[in-house]
Symmetry: C2
Subunit: 212 residues, 2 copies
């Protein structure tokens, strides 16, 4: 039995690939594992059946036999630990790849989430215009450091890993802000991620759901 | 050779245990592993030697033989994978504990970091007073869901795990805001974390540095 993941019945982005199921689909495509998808509506996400799977009422979730997981990072790590293709064999390199996974979600994503909030949830507030540059500068602080570390390498620590999958996925969110283009090596890094056949398949699969 | 972690030479909180080295010290104390500490100044954190260890110029880092790691979550996971005491033996329970680690840093911590930013970095802005309730409500949205899941259990998924260590550490940041007291079961959960002998030792060790 292939695992089952959940995804939005209708993604708020209309299929641009920003919903987090894309990250899990991408990981499954990288390791060549088939999967099933169960679509959930916004209403169903807040009901007891889904909350039993995901305490915060979000997608994606991952069910495989007796195991039920939530949180994209842990689902991607679970897939990466069980199938070849997303983590190096060397124990130290493996631990470093996992560091990049946590850096993606705990150091780089928080200011990006704050920017998304400022641009969407607080766009009609009186402080919106004056505050936005502050929030954008906090994102730039992180991107500058990330760009300095990446340099002219293709990936963050040697071969492509789950760390790159998570970092590129977090950076995808910046595409419409224009900020990413201020860091050409990061823009190229994201483009390399998007060009991977596994990403293309994941993207097309989520797009098909949202344009049906 | 015990591992070496880095910590603030002078923590901005003066030793209240909110700096992230406390999380790593706590993990090391839970598994009974000795460790060395190298203190770094704010200036040194931004210099090449430290940036080589931590691309984002923060603490803590973790060095053990040839291995150098950054990001608290990945350091705690590394410790938990190599020593008994922080992850269950059962594979499924282990994966669920890791889900809670990611939930702590990617779902619960971002709105808390936003609250810290609003209260500290933006406290002098003209929008500060009007905006703060919005930010606090975003924290409450998460705490309400977390409180519903925890119910009257002691820990998030059976026995205490690295997931609880990370979640309690994230919630510690709310102590001065008063919000935590609105959720008595979460306040009690945090108190159970703080009462653990390993946490006490970790707390005292970081306090000794900051009150020397």
């Amino acid at each position: 039995m292939p695992p089952t993941i959940t995804a939005f019945d209708r993604s708020p982005d209309g299929g641009k690939g920003r919903a987090r199921d894309t990250r899990v689909r991408w990981a499954l495509e990288e390791v060549g594992q088939p999967y099933e998808v169960r679509l959930v509506s916004f209403q169903a996400m807040k009901e007891p059946a889904h909350l039993a799977l995901h305490p915060f009422g979000q997608i994606p979730t991952y069910e495989e036999g007796d195991l039920a997981l939530f949180e994209t990072g842990s689902i991607v790590l679970h897939i990466a630990e069980r199938h070849a293709g997303l983590l190096p064999d060397d124990a130290n390199a493996r631990a470093r790849a996992i560091s990049w996974m946590f850096a993606a979600v705990n150091t780089v994503e928080p200011p990006i989430l704050e920017l998304v909030t400022a641009r969407i949830l607080e766009s009609d507030k009186p402080w919106s215009k004056e505050r936005l540059p502050l929030v954008m500068d906090r994102v730039r602080d992180r991107l500058k450091q990330l760009a300095a570390r990446l340099g002219d390498a293709d990936w963050l620590d040697g071969a492509f890993s789950a760390g790159d999958l998570m970092m590129a996925s977090v950076l995808f969110r910046l595409r419409t802000s224009g900020i990413l283009d201020e860091y050409p090596n990061l823009a190229a890094y994201v483009a390399r991620g998007e060009a991977r056949p596994a990403y293309r398949r994941a993207f097309e699969a989520q797009r098909a759901v949202n344009t049906r």
